[in-house]
Point group: C2
Chain length 306, copies 2
């Protein structure tokens, strides 16, 4: 089977078991009781993963104000993944014109206005703006979670456009950020292997857009800024799927948001992030469609109950 | 104090206690550890609220495909609350033009394309399309949760544009839907009063748009289709806030999605919904900013730990 065939096979098995309900939009899916319970279990494991002491949990809305979104550089590097929100601010007369378009089957979203909000692509992007213009005397560590959006329509059940993520992000000195990333390179894969998922850690790059993409990716790999925790979900040479990653951003976000670190220089940051649906579906792929038959240690770790 | 002053006062106390971090966009907020723990506790209580037997939990993405969104009639009745998603599908050349606009401070979202996705306003709107065109021989009951969006910018911490909701929705015969709503009118307020929240149940209406708004609202109230669970969060005559609601939709959604009920007629539906942040913040308003000093029964109910 090709990789695409194996992706569709997993999707079919999830559908057949009643775990996944396909939606008409490619890359969106509804999940049922067993998957939701596993997502909750994984979420709890990431939440209680080290570091814990002094860490502030934050729940953030799945949007970034446009001005902050632009500051992160996402629009420059990943325009193909963005989602921007429009709203209706018109009068009843405008509304009648809009409904006339809808009923005639004409395009109607042009009648909307920009909300100046962009869909969040990673929870940690909401952490840096909280400290915009600040001088931090001690590092800040957040356990941050949200719904994320990346516009990459796919039939691979492991590649959703809308998914849940939880991350541990540190903002501090270069040394503190490096140490946080290093620590995550231990704790992250261990969390996954404790669930019976065979993972390996590989140097990786983000999916940059356009002419400079290859150059940007090579630079990121040369500097070993991004490591992914890869699980061999689909088998074969190209069967790996990233379930999480550990990223050292250097002073990228500290610079974007004018944050000074405890050492007086631009703040550095690092994050350890996990895709909750990806981990849940990898567990179904590896342990089978019936959670009742999963290894006891895995069920206990996820608090799936007796 | 006026209602607006009392809203700001609660917001200030939440900020001062470190529970709420204001964001630059009105109606969006970030919440920290204690609020997140309470939201999780409330979420668990709603999930395990009756009915439970035969109920399928589903987690849905915070979007509706445009074609389904239009079918629900939301665009006709509540255009002022909608959010529509645009994406970038252009070439590297288009991207350079877009970035030139961004750098010049020009509007740039006009260069995006409609994704034909709308932000979800209530989780149950994702349930009906799952049965489009079907004849149901038995009723379906879902415990459904998601992030929701309603474009109503406000400084009231209880009125967020982006929030989490969990609902119990039944799709079946008129009799089954009525019974489900009736049952929720008992279980819903009890869940809240068990948490020490003084709630009363009142006939309510949805915030319809335009010239027909008053007429639509009056019809809904006359037929007692919507009840809200109101908590006197702000005191005084106008201090109530809806923490949840129990709604009987008659055959509104069954008709929209061409679903036939077990009695052979158009399917009827009803939902019991809860706003998770609203309930959490009402608990802080009523029991105080320090969860460590909340009544033991409330802490235990929310599983806040020792």
């Amino acid at each position: 089977m090709t990789r695409a065939e194996r992706e569709r096979d997993l999707r079919d098995r999830l559908i057949h078991a009643g775990h996944l309900i396909p939606l008409p939009t490619r890359g969106l899916a509804t999940f049922t009781s067993d998957v939701e319970a596993v997502v909750r279990g994984v979420d709890g494991l990431v939440r209680t993963m080290e570091p814990v002491a002094g860490v502030v949990e934050i729940g953030v809305p799945p949007f970034l104000p446009e001005v902050e979104f632009v500051r992160t550089g996402y629009l420059r590097s990943f325009p193909h993944l963005l989602g921007s929100v429009d709203v209706f601010t018109g009068s009843p007369r405008d509304h009648r014109a809009l409904m006339a378009d809808v009923e005639a089957g004409n395009p109607w979203t042009e009648r909307l206005s920009p909300a100046h909000l962009d869909l969040l692509s990673a929870p940690c992007h909401s952490a840096y703006p909280l400290h915009q213009g600040q001088s931090l005397h001690t590092p800040r560590v957040y356990d941050i979670h949200s719904r994320c959006w990346r516009h990459e329509p796919s039939d691979d059940p492991m590649r959703l456009m809308s998914f849940r993520m939880r991350e541990k992000v540190l903002i501090g000195s270069a040394e503190q950020a490096s140490a946080h990333r290093e620590s995550g390179l231990g704790h992250g894969p261990r969390l996954l292997s404790d669930l019976g998922l065979p993972v390996s850690r590989v140097v990786a790059n983000d999916p940059f857009f356009g002419r400079m993409a290859r150059l940007m990716a090579e630079g990121q790999r040369d500097d070993e800024l991004k490591f992914e925790f890869i699980c061999d979900v689909y088998g074969g040479d190209d069967g790996g799927v990233a379930l999480g990653s550990a990223n050292y951003h250097q002073d990228h976000f500290g610079g974007d948001f004018d944050i000074t670190g405890p050492d007086g220089g631009p703040a550095h940051s690092a994050c350890i992030g996990f895709g909750l649906e990806r981990i849940a579906l990898a567990l179904f792929a590896v342990h089978g469609m019936d959670t009742g038959r999963w290894p006891t240690a895995v069920r206990d770790g996820l608090r799936l109950g007796p």
